[in-house]
Amino acid sequence: MAEEVTLSGHIQHHLTNAKMCSTESGLAFNKACSDSGFWTWHIDTLAWSIGLGILFLAIFRSAAKKATIGVPGKFQCFIEMIVDFVGDNVAKTFQGKSTLIAPLALTIFVWVFLMNLMDLIPVDFLPALAGFVGESAFGMDSHDVYMKIVPTTDINLTAALAVGVFLLMVAYSVKIKGVSGFIKELTLHPFSTDNKLAMVFLIPCNLLLETIALIAKPFSLALRLFGNLYAGELIFILIGAIGLMQLPLHFVWAVFHILVIVLQAFVFMMLTIVYLSMASSDNH
């Protein structure tokens, strides 16, 4: 280590994504991308999240291929337990029939769970390994190698999930109620009157309120997951910085965090189902 590492520097290092962007001189990474604006890619978030997504699909696909009506094996039982759990929640919460909601809920639950689970890997292991590989294999300064292994602590990922859910909400609203029905929903509630003149004043108010209510849903989805995991990760980093005393503290926080990991995945899934159920039901 060439230079003294300050605590804030250490934390900052942990909370920075590995970036990639294209500049005039080809692909550039990390600090070179600090002012590249929107077209920056967080390659660690992308790699870990897509890798975990593929892991999820591979596990479940292998169970699906082997699925039999006869006596299931233990692996199949485990997978079917998850599928049944998600299916039950969807059936209880979502009114109406849809072939999309259940697989969507399953994907969100397991994928988010796996990504959150990365939080339990001690915070220094993989970044240190990445730093070592970067230093020895690519001749980089190990302080210049960033590796943020929990994709859900990246607002870009949680926002992407929320945007996906939001698009589905709009799509379902339009599909069930039609474009005019959707617009009516946004403008004629919650204030409505038979007086035409009063309605002219009320419609902008309604539009404002309903739009805020609509936009708040994906915002709350994205920020809840991001905030919970980011805070958890930050506390892991702080605990990791205090020396030997970290062991009992880390254990306690990790045990508590198991709850957060499952709960946040479950909450994201349930709220997705609820929002889509609300979007596809006619009664307001």
């Binding site: 978030t45 699906a64 599928v83 049944d84 697989p103 969507l104």
Partner: protein, 156 residues
């Protein structure tokens, strides 16, 4: 907050994952679960039916067993009756046979006695003749005195 192109990449990944899950993961697993649930329901119904069938069969078997027992008792009763009847008949027959044999014996004995009597009578006649000859010191012409002899024999 630094939203950037990562969001687009993750959105695409999200859509692809959901699509894959909807196409290749959820349907086979859900179908298998539902098919197995149906199979279990059917199996339980079948086992209920089989239990009921078994109960019925047991009832039927008990009834048949009872009937068979009573029939067996009847048959034994009849056989006993028949046995005594046969014994009685045999006794009667034996009695009759005995009487017949006895009667035959009696007649035979009678005939034998008669014959012996006849023989004895003749021998007595001969003896009488011999005695008379001794007494008369001369022979009696059997042919000439046969009437006397016959009379004598008849008197014996």
């Amino acid at each position: 907050m630094n939203l950037n192109a990562t969001l687009i990449g993750e959105l695409i990944a999200f859509i692809v994952f959901v699509w894959f899950c909807m196409k290749f993961v959820w349907p086979p697993l859900n179908d298998a679960i539902e098919a197995r649930q149906k199979k279990i329901v059917d199996g339980l119904a079948a086992s209920d039916r089989a239990e009921k069938d078994l109960e019925l069969a047991q009832e039927k078997a008990t009834a048949q067993l009872k009937e068979a027992k009573s029939q067996a008792a009847e048959i034994i009763e009849a056989a006993k009756k028949r046995e005594t009847q046969i014994v009685e008949e045999a006794a009667v027959k034996a009695e009759a046979e005995k009487a017949k044999i006895l009667a035959a014996g009696h007649t035979e004995i009678e005939a034998e006695r008669n014959r012996a009597k006849e023989e004895l009578r003749q021998q007595v006649a001969l003896l009488a003749i011999a005695g008379a000859e001794k007494i008369l010191e001369r022979s009696i012409d059997a042919a000439a005195h046969s009437d006397i002899l016959d009379k004598f024999v008849a008197e014996l």
